[in-house]
């Protein structure tokens, strides 16, 4: 058997989404066209927009479709920065590169100053730091961006508190990992903008959305036909949008069942490897993400060995050359680079079963033994 434990990277499309997409693919019509077929496509897109808006608790006009979560984050970080005369960008130190890198780009090319919010050993942002920062420099801060939950550890961040501390400062949240998995209300959180992505929730690849307050204008990254409030030009990807809405509506993610599998897995790991450490274990976490350090190993060896045993998991970070790199998330939590390179992420999803957990645990002892041996050779 083969076991897929990398649902945080991408998760299978659910059947209803595949059906909805297949049906939409055979329909003719550009949603921006004025004729019959165009109007029919437009209706499908707007139906989908309303469904998505209901799910994230926003107004339909606040949903701006993009080609990915990365694009939505780029649009938000750059757009909110360009919209403001202020120069300081505040982000958490554990953001996904889709937030961190546009912020760094603005530092390099647009004269921004970047301040990163540190996190605790359990991977939760330091609210006292943020409070002190806002108290001292609120007049200079263009935006604050804190992810709703971390993609490597699954640790959930106190976004409501961040918004409260921020006051009038726009707050963006990358909610790609949280959306559809834990309660998430754009409206209740009082966010300025938020990112979601299709392929993390049983929808297709290549579709995301920026949720952005009504009547807020931000400069566009893509210029053209003026779609999506003139913020994101480009022919609307009707089949993917329809499929995303179908996936969200289907709610195939059983959070309680998935959390149970994850807990069983973590308990099983600690039984066979008592020296293993579950990162962020004392913080509130997503149901399905487990980040575990196996001391004395190297995660790229472990991944190869797990893959050979037909268990798919993730090492977290890799550079453009594909070389495994120490995770900035784990390092921000205080792990050394060596320890952070001994960690694997296992992420559970809607298709996992008890048998998957049992199988993964059955191959783990040999994999860790060999991983330890491989690492010992390297130190020779």
């Amino acid at each position: 058997m083969s076991v897929y434990l990398d649902h945080a990277a991408t998760t299978p499309m659910c059947d209803v989404a595949i059906d909805a997409m297949s049906a939409a693919l055979s329909k003719l019509g550009n949603p921006s066209s004025l004729h019959t077929q165009g109007r029919a496509a437009r209706k499908d897109v707007e139906d989908a927009r309303e469904k998505i808006a209901r799910a994230v608790h926003c107004q339909p006009s606040e949903v701006i479709f993009t080609g990915s979560g990365t694009e939505a984050n780029n649009a938000a970080i750059k757009g909110l920065y360009w919209n403001s005369p202020k120069k300081v960008i505040v982000v958490s130190s554990i953001e996904h590169h889709a937030v961190l890198d546009p912020a760094l780009w603005l530092v390099e090319h647009e004269g921004a100053e970047l301040i990163q919010i540190p996190v605790t050993g359990d991977g939760v942002i330091d609210l006292d730091f943020l409070r002190a920062l806002v108290a001292a420099r609120s007049a200079e801060i263009a935006l604050i961006s804190v992810m709703h939950s971390n993609n490597e550890t699954g640790v959930i961040q106190p976004i409501a508190e961040v918004v409260k501390i921020a006051g009038d400062i726009p707050v963006h949240s990358d909610a790609v990992q949280s959306f559809s998995k834990v309660p998430l209300s754009y409206q209740d959180l009082g966010l300025y903008s938020m990112t979601i992505s299709g392929h993390k929730v049983g929808g297709p690849l290549g579709i995301g959305a920026l949720i952005l307050r009504r009547a807020v204008e931000i400069p566009a990254l893509l210029h053209g036909g003026g779609q999506e409030r003139d913020i994101r030009s480009g022919t609307l990807n009707a089949p993917s949008i329809v499929a995303l809405a179908a996936a969200i509506e289907a709610q195939s993610y059983d959070a309680a069942a998935i959390e149970k599998l994850r807990i069983q897995f973590e308990e099983g790991v600690l039984r066979v490897r008592p020296d293993a450490v579950v990162n962020g274990k004392n913080a509130p976490r997503l149901p399905g993400i487990s980040n575990i350090t196996f001391p004395g190993t190297q995660s790229d060896s472990l991944l190869l060995l797990m893959d050979s045993e037909k268990v798919s998991c993730s090492t977290g970070a890799a550079c453009t050359a594909g070389v495994h790199r120490p995770s900035h998330v784990l390092m921000a939590m205080g792990l050394t680079d060596v320890v952070s390179q001994s960690s694997l992420r296992f992420s559970f999803g809607a298709t996992n079963t008890q048998a998957d957990v049992d199988f993964a645990l059955s191959v783990l002892p040999t994999v860790i033994e060999r991983g330890l041996a491989a690492n010992a050779v390297g130190k020779k």
Binding site: T320, A321, G322, H324, A373, V377, G378
Partner: protein, 357 residues
């Protein structure tokens, strides 16, 4: 067997991996990231460690249908190969980093790691052959004399040879390209890599000057008379004639050649062509991949450069040194180079040249 295919992104290692799969092995492709700061694109025929090369390797693995991973060996490579290259030059010797890489990285760090992870060996695209004999596995020249790489593999010991598979030794390069084409490998016509992979400019002297500095020193003749100045002794090689910048001609008007590099005094010694002649060499750290050589003289061939000629010689072990006495003198031989002894096409062993006479 379960084996690791070291895949550089070139045509040879891709075909080697494909042949290993066809031979019935369970093969996993691994690309070695040897630079911690790789260039994005390959420039000309140099280097093999760009991101483009790693993509080529991945694509080949996907086409062959084997798993593929990247192993970060940048630290090991820097420590074992690049630093050694610099310190050898600084000491007035001429090292061969490819040989060193085979000895320290491909068939040491990689093979050891592979074995620890439960693999049986490493397959590479080197042109060489192995044979199973009563005395164990032996290493031989490839049938393509232009591509034969047994010289750079002669640093492997018996255990390393036992963990190595070279599927290309029985084929000529031109046929490997045709085979790659047939297998649908996009790297079929990718140019061969030449020169030293971590010196992408190809300018070894410039690369060394940037790292070791360029301390001016004397160029002297064999009497010790100063006849010029150089900018860093290590940028010269034994036998070099061009680029000496000497304004004083030799008494008989004949050209002068680098005879010796003395790193301690930062001196380059030059002399006539006939003074380059070497009739015997002595090597340290001998390695034997087949039966160990004894003190009794034996007849064979010695090769001192990657694609140099096989020179008739008598060889024997003198204490810890491997000695080769040439039938015909050789012009210009630097210490630091590897001497590889052959018995016909079989590699007997190798050593690092420490003395010539």
């Amino acid at each position: 067997m379960k084996i690791i295919a070291a895949m550089s992104g070139g045509v040879d290692s891709a075909v080697a991996a494909a042949r290993a799969v066809e031979a019935g092995h369970e093969v996993i492709g691994v690309h070695l990231a040897l630079s911690s700061n790789p260039q994005k694109y390959r420039s000309g025929a140099r280097g093999c460690c760009t991101i483009e090369d790693s993509h080529d390797a991945r694509r080949a693995a996907d086409v062959i249908g084997i798993p593929f991973y990247i192993w970060d060996m940048a630290d090991e490579f820097h420590e074992g190969v690049v630093e050694n290259f610099m310190s050898e030059y600084a000491a007035g010797r001429t090292p061969n980093p490819c040989l060193r890489c085979n000895e320290k990285i491909k068939f040491a760090a990689v093979l050891d790691r592979a074995k620890a992870m439960g693999f049986d060996g490493v397959v590479t695209g080197h042109y060489a052959r192995t044979e199973e004999t009563n005395e164990g596995r032996t290493l031989h020249r490839a049938i393509d004399p232009l591509k034969d790489q047994s010289y750079v593999l002669a640093v492997l010991n018996r255990e390393q040879i036992n963990g190595a598979i070279f599927p290309l030794g029985d084929t000529e390069k031109v046929d490997i390209r045709i085979e790659a084409e047939k297998r649908g490998l996009a790297v079929a016509q990718k140019p061969d890599s030449h020169d030293i992979c971590f010196v992408p400019s190809g300018d070894n002297a410039g690369w060394l000057r940037d790292r070791l500095g360029s301390e001016v020193g004397p160029i002297v003749d064999q009497d010790g008379t100063k006849i010029g100045e150089h900018k860093g002794a290590y940028t010269y090689t034994i036998g070099q004639r061009k680029g000496l910048g000497l304004s004083v001609a030799a008494p008989d008007g004949s050209p002068r050649f680098v005879l010796k590099i003395e790193p301690v005094t930062n001196t380059v010694v030059v002399g006539a062509r006939e003074d380059l002649a070497v009739s015997s060499m002595r090597g340290e750290r001998p390695i034997f991949c087949g039966p160990v050589v004894g003190a009794a003289p034996e007849r064979g061939f010695v090769q001192v450069r990657a694609h140099g000629a096989a020179l008739d010689c008598t060889y024997y072990l003198d204490g810890e040194h491997l000695v080769a006495e040439l039938d015909e003198p050789l012009l210009g031989l630097a210490t630091g180079q590897a001497m590889v002894i052959y018995d016909g096409d079989r590699v007997v062993g190798s050593a690092t040249i420490c003395e010539t006479a």
